[in-house]
């Protein structure tokens, strides 16, 4: 399916943003602001992510979908904390590569999967996930 103009423009913007490697300064900034170091630049704090684990009843054996995850925040963190499986999705391939690298370095790549996809056309069947989260997604 051909991406819409909005999707092409968003992909170009995000490719520029997510293609830029993180630095000590950007990681320090993220830690100071939201308490994470996943390359996030949104408004979901670590405390709010912890609340999501509880409200979504995430646990080992459950499967979470994070729509518009960027480099993997908060989906990868939710999987790390709860033991659940996670699929993170977003348009920029660079962001998904970063997320894959992070899941590998954290030791849970066996239950973390990355899918380049538009939130408007997710390639998943009905009832695939126990929970779905999306935060700070531009629409």
């Amino acid at each position: 399916m051909v991406p819409s103009r909005d999707e092409r423009e968003a992909a170009a913007l995000f490719a520029e943003r997510y293609g830029r490697p993180g630095s000590d300064a950007t990681r320090d900034l993220e830690r100071l602001v939201i308490g994470s170091d996943f390359g996030a630049n949104g408004y979901t704090t670590m405390a709010q992510a912890d609340l999501l684990v509880e409200r979504l009843d995430l646990a080992e054996g459950k499967r979470l979908l994070d729509v518009g995850s960027g480099r993997g925040w908060p989906g990868l963190y939710l999987a790390k904390k709860s033991g659940c499986g996670v699929v993170v999705t977003d348009l920029p391939e660079e962001a998904m590569r970063t997320a894959a690298h992070r899941a590998g370095s954290e030791g849970f790549s066996d239950r973390a999967h990355m899918v380049v996809a538009s939130a408007r056309r997710l390639p998943f069947g009905t009832a695939t996930f126990n929970a779905i989260v999306h935060t700070d997604v531009l629409c």
């Binding site: 830029r20 630095s23 000590d24 300064a25 950007t26 320090d28 900034l29 100071l32 602001v33 939201i34 630049n41 408004y43 704090t45 709010q48 609340l51 409200r55 979504l56 009832a127 999306h134 997604v137 531009l138 629409c139």
Partner: protein, 87 residues
């Protein structure tokens, strides 16, 4: 998710039930202020790693975000909903 439609209505239209909404606008503003404050504190290091153009744009974006929240143009909510039981 940015939208001018009621979020709870959107969830209901998408087939979700038991929609609960909690306002997080206060925390949203606090976080936006922290992005701005610490971006300024780390500005030299951020400029060195991001370049002036990107650093300037990010500061402008952060400032604009704070203004938009303070003026009531943006709010943030946590919405939790359950899928309707399948027949």
């Amino acid at each position: 998710m940015a939208s001018n439609r009621d979020q709870a209505d959107l969830l209901a239209a998408a087939g979700f039930a038991e929609v609960e909404e909690a306002d997080f606008t206060g925390e949203f503003l606090e976080t936006a202020l922290r992005w701005l404050r610490f971006s300024r504190e780390l500005e030299p290091a951020l400029r060195a790693s991001l370049g002036d153009d990107v650093a300037d744009q990010q500061l402008a974006d952060r400032t604009e975000m704070v203004t938009a929240i303070e003026e009531g143009l943006l709010k943030r909510s946590l919405l939790v909903a359950a899928a309707r039981p399948r027949k």
